[in-house]
């Protein structure tokens, strides 16, 4: 069990999460972030700082995001992101779309 970044991160990539991650387990590409499950210590610090609640504890992740587990398993293909970045230009629009 680990934490999972769902597809809600796509077109947002706010990166509030990376700053509170105590173990630098976030990786990222141009589109979104991924959690390296082997590094994540399940502390949940990232969950509530995400403006669109894109991150779930696998334990109570809604069924519709199950495919995101496989997507997160590619985390190590991308560099570690451990400092806050500017969100994607589409972030505010996407946030609204997601109902936050």
């Amino acid at each position: 069990m680990a934490h999972i970044v769902t597809n809600k991160c796509q077109r947002c990539r706010f990166t509030h999460c990376v700053e509170v991650c105590p173990v630098a387990c976030f990786h990222g590409d141009e589109e979104r972030l991924y959690i390296d499950a082997d590094t994540c210590i399940d502390c949940s610090a990232c969950i509530e700082v995400c403006p669109v609640r894109a991150i779930y504890d696998q334990y109570d992740m809604p069924e519709e995001y199950q495919t995101c587990i496989a997507i997160n398993s590619k985390a190590l293909d991308f560099p570690v992101i451990d400092t806050k970045h500017e969100p994607l230009p589409t972030a505010m629009e996407r946030k609204k779309e997601l109902g936050y």
């Binding site: 700053e19 105590p22 173990v23 630098a24 210590i41 502390c43 610090a45 334990y59 109570d60």
Partner: protein
């Protein structure tokens, strides 16, 4: 590039405290100024603060964060000075004189007061003292807990209260492989405590637990969780709030409370009863606690607790108040007595008039108060170091003699503990644990720690 390496530009910075905020401040400093020399000063001979002495022994995954701290400490520009206490072994003025900047990250090692009669009775403790005791904090080993009565009361409904509940209800078998001290296991194995009352001042929708901690309590193998029907009130204002995204986790807690139900399962050996809307008004007993009287509250529209006039008394022989840690002031540092924090603006220490004290910063619980989890301190330390970066030209003006700090410690014959020394203690603890099937057996005696370091 060679210019930036000359001695004048090389900063020497002191970080006071080696818990999460101290390590993350060090990490952020080195990210911004890779040539900075950081002296981490720790009161105890051993590092990691509340990761070692606060995180529950049955949450080993959280402690893996120590690997990150080891990586930070292994940077050749980082020096650990354990067994060096501020105001005792070294003064803040001496630190300021020997460093370009001092970052105070010494956390909260005291308790918020309950402020009711009876807190001097035997059997009354803060949850912090109990947590520090079972986690092997050398400064908490003198506490004596009386587990002979079947009822215990925990005042406060946050994650520390949940940790205390688990430790009081788990069996020896469930704890024996963790790094809880053997002394704690031995005493807990004799415990007669069966019923725990966990008390909140406000309603279920205002409890401070995380849903994860409540879920874990619900999963305890030999423990019945139930709620007091009378005080389980969710009104329309609560319902409205709980539907907002920001309250998602609290809504989860409330739904777990509902699942617990009102009935105790008496087939289970232990029980945890959640009581809400109660404020303690008096702890009663002759020399030791016999009962606690509470005022029943109701909530105002803006969710404040107000007394109804009805009271309830609960018999118990042990009480833990778990209403929050509190930071302590140090000599000559501006302090907010209400919040128990160092007065600061985004990490820059300022006096009561708002004037900046040059070169003095703060991070972690002593900066913002005792809230948040390990990772919260990383963002907090990033903020403090961003502030320090803005001041860098001023800080650089100061001339510091090389080795000035270490020379003071040597002149005072202070036996400081290096990270290599700590590693010797660490090795012995792991070895001593493995002999008896535990992840670690902590050494709880400072002299013993020092004698291992001296070998």
């Amino acid at each position: 590039m060679s210019d930036s390496l000359n001695h004048k530009d090389k900063l020497t910075i002191a970080v006071v405290g080696s818990g999460p905020s101290g390590f993350y401040a060090t990490e952020a400093l080195l990210k911004n100024f890779p040539n900075t020399s950081v002296n981490i000063i720790e009161k105890l001979p051993v590092p990691f603060g509340l990761v070692r002495f606060g995180v529950a022994p049955d949450h080993p995954k959280l402690k893996q964060v120590i690997m990150v701290y080891n990586r930070i400490a292994e940077n050749p520009n980082v020096n650990f000075f354990g067994n060096v206490e501020l105001d005792k072994d070294i003064t803040i003025e001496e630190l300021q004189r020997t460093h370009h900047a001092v970052i105070l990250c010494y956390g909260a090692r005291s308790d918020r007061d309950l402020n009711i009669p009876g807190t001097s009775l035997k059997g009354y403790h803060s949850a912090r003292e109990f947590v520090a005791w079972y986690n092997g904090d050398p400064e908490a080993q003198h506490h004596k807990f009386d587990f002979s009565h079947k009822n215990a009361v925990i005042i406060g409904q946050g994650n520390v209260a949940a940790d205390v509940c688990r430790i009081l209800t788990k069996s020896v078998d469930e704890l024996k492989k963790t790094d809880i001290t053997t002394q704690a296991i031995e005493q807990l194995s004799e415990s007669k405590i069966r019923n725990i009352h966990i008390i909140g001042r406000r309603g279920p929708a205002q409890a401070k637990f995380s849903s994860k901690e409540i879920r874990e309590l619900g999963e305890l193998s030999n423990c019945s969780n139930f709620i007091e029907q009378q005080s389980y009130v969710i009104d329309d204002i609560d319902k409205n709030q709980l539907s907002a995204p920001a309250f998602a986790d609290i809504a989860k807690c409330v739904s777990i409370f509902k699942d617990f139900g009102y009935k105790k399962d008496s087939k289970k050996q232990h029980s945890i009863e959640y009581k809400f809307l109660l404020s303690p008004i008096k702890i009663c007993g002759d020399s030791k606690i016999e009962s606690i009287t509470f005022m029943r509250n109701r909530l105002t529209d803006n969710r404040k607790a107000e007394p109804t006039g009805d009271t309830i008394t609960i018999d118990c022989g042990l009480c833990f108040s778990s209403i929050g840690y509190r930071g302590q002031a140090i000599n000559n540092i501006p302090f907010d007595d209400v919040k128990g924090t160092i007065i600061n603006d985004k990490g820059r220490v300022i006096n009561k008039q708002g004037t900046v004290i040059t070169g003095l910063y703060t991070s972690g619980w002593i900066k913002r108060g005792p809230s948040g989890i390990i990772g919260t301190n990383r963002a907090d330390s990033v903020e403090t170091i961003e502030t320090l970066v803005k001041d860098i030209e001023t800080l650089k003006q100061k001339t510091i003699e090389e080795n000035a700090f270490i020379n003071i410690l040597k002149a005072k014959k202070c036996r400081y503990i290096s990270y290599e020394d700590w590693k010797k203690i660490d090795d012995i603890e792991i070895k001593n644990g493995s002999i008896i099937g535990k992840s670690r057996e902590k050494i709880t005696d400072i002299d013993k720690m020092l004698s291992i370091a001296n070998k």
